[in-house]
Amino acid sequence: MTAPSLKVTIGGVEFKNPILTASGTFGYGEEFDEYIDLSRLGGIVTKSITRHERKGHPPPRTAETASGMLNAIGLANVGVDAYVREKLPFLRNLGTRIVVNVAGFDTDEYLYVIDKLNGHDEIDMIELNISCPNVKGAGMEFSSNPQIAYDIVKKVKGICGFPLMPKLSPNVADIKLIAKACEEAGADALALINTLYGMAIDPFNWRIKLTNITGGLSGPAIKPVAIAAVWKTASVVKIPIVGIGGIMDYRDVIEFLLAGATAVQFGTANFVQPDCTIRAIDNLTDYLGSRNIQDVNDLIGKAKKT
């Protein structure tokens, strides 16, 4: 038997396997260089980039919750100019796909950042963060209303030199509506989900745990919400879906593929186990092999009703 194929294609871009790292949980890739062989990854999604450098929120920025964590980093990043100058070079020859996550406070900012990234051929795809719940005005509105989501995706698509993948928020009544709007506006793929709105208070000192008050909930706690989002969205759109939320190991990867995702991203898991992605690639390969499945694409959307 030949080794199973793990290749997947999203927005015309071929990934060597469906396992990517999620924005904001993998830095700019550099930090993990000493822990894992980055070239084995399907792809790296880098930390959200904005027009200017952002220092982020004052600490404490994170709090642990049951099977999850809250974060209010506040889109801390070096800004697009420094990103292109200092971070892209490292990413150039890693031998893995580079997806650049772009955030903005208004349409102009998205367009400005994309414009600066255009032409840099080390970039394979743009992930459009229209769903970060941490910064007031920084996108929440874009992803919570179909019309607004349509407008921003349409405008960005008009100038974007790369395949475009909006990243959606789960903090909506019906994610299907937003997903369809993005598809109609020309999105090449969809990434879902970003974090859920959350908050925590210390019952002994009465303090709200995050300086920013609310934060984004991630980790295994949110996986069922993410699986439902992927399943529902897959039933209404034709473009590929990249699943995110609470993925810890290869079993979770398979669950997302069965729900209809073409690829996945590991977020919080990178904090718990720096080599979680590599283990998942190995285990997924073994899983397919032991079941005589030749192609990982044969899992996509194959969940069966009970």
């Binding site: 830095g27 600490p59 920025r61 994170t62 642990e64 974060n71 801390a76 980790g219 904090f271 186990q273």
Partner: protein, 240 residues
């Protein structure tokens, strides 16, 4: 986890609290306390304060833990300094014990090392058992005066700086609760002494990617990562 080389004092380990399930989810950070050169064995000294440490307290000899590290930037002190003053509060004891041991091992004269150890009360003295065995100048401060100086260890530091018993050009290294570090920082500034602080911070990743553990740079609108640029900082660098 056997370690090949003597670890840099002030570096830490990131330890996964459980093997089954995802709650608690994140690793816990502990300073390296001791190192046995013959076996390569590494030790931590910790206080049970919450769920993670409660789980660790039930781990029995022979069990395996998932440990990442050593991580971070520790104390980087040349042997050419004149005098070393270690100011420890409670669970701040471990990295400063290792620092004293490391300097002794490399030939630094124990008479030039002062270890000011702050405890709540004499009952906590066992935490300093190993420190006591080192040939250095060890002094205690307790909140209730049940052992040594009565009062905060930062006040003990001030008294010793005043009476000159810490020698010339003392380099201060401190580890302990936030309030104590702040006091030591103020004193070091007032007396114009070189000072290093080992900070604590909630550390989701420990390896520099989450940007969760940051502390503010002094005088700048900028944050630095405690896990990566720290946990040891020059006292003038950070705003507590």
């Amino acid at each position: 986890m056997p370690l090949e080389r003597f670890p840099i004092p002030g570096t830490f380990l990131h330890i996964k609290p459980n093997t089954t399930g995802t709650d608690p989810l994140l690793r816990r950070a502990f300073s390296i306390f001791d190192y046995d050169e013959t076996t390569g064995t590494i030790e931590i000294l910790y206080k049970v304060v919450g769920r993670g440490t409660e789980i660790f307290s039930r781990v029995r000899p022979g069990e395996t833990l998932d440990v990442l590290g050593p991580l971070g930037n520790g104390f980087d002190l040349p042997l050419t300094i004149d005098n070393l003053v270690l100011v420890a509060g409670g669970v701040g004891i471990p990295p400063l014990y290792l620092l004293a041991k490391s300097h002794l091992r490399r030939g630094f004269d124990g008479k030039r090392i002062s270890y000011l150890c702050g405890l709540t009360t004499v009952a906590e003295k066992p935490m300093a058992d190993r420190v006591e065995k080192l040939p250095i100048n060890l002094q205690f401060a307790t909140d209730d005066g049940s052992l040594g100086f009565k009062g905060f260890v930062s006040e003990l530091l001030r008294a010793r700086l005043d009476d000159g018993s810490l020698g010339i050009n003392p380099v201060i290294c401190a580890c302990g609760p936030d309030g104590m570090l702040k006091a030591v920082q103020t004193i070091a500034r007032a007396y114009g002494k070189k000072c290093y602080l080992s900070l604590e911070s909630i550390m989701p990743c420990g390896v520099g990617t989450c940007l969760g553990c940051v502390v503010k740079k002094d005088g700048e609108e900028k944050y630095v990562r405690v896990c990566r640029e720290g946990p040891v900082f020059e006292a003038t660098e950070v705003e507590l």
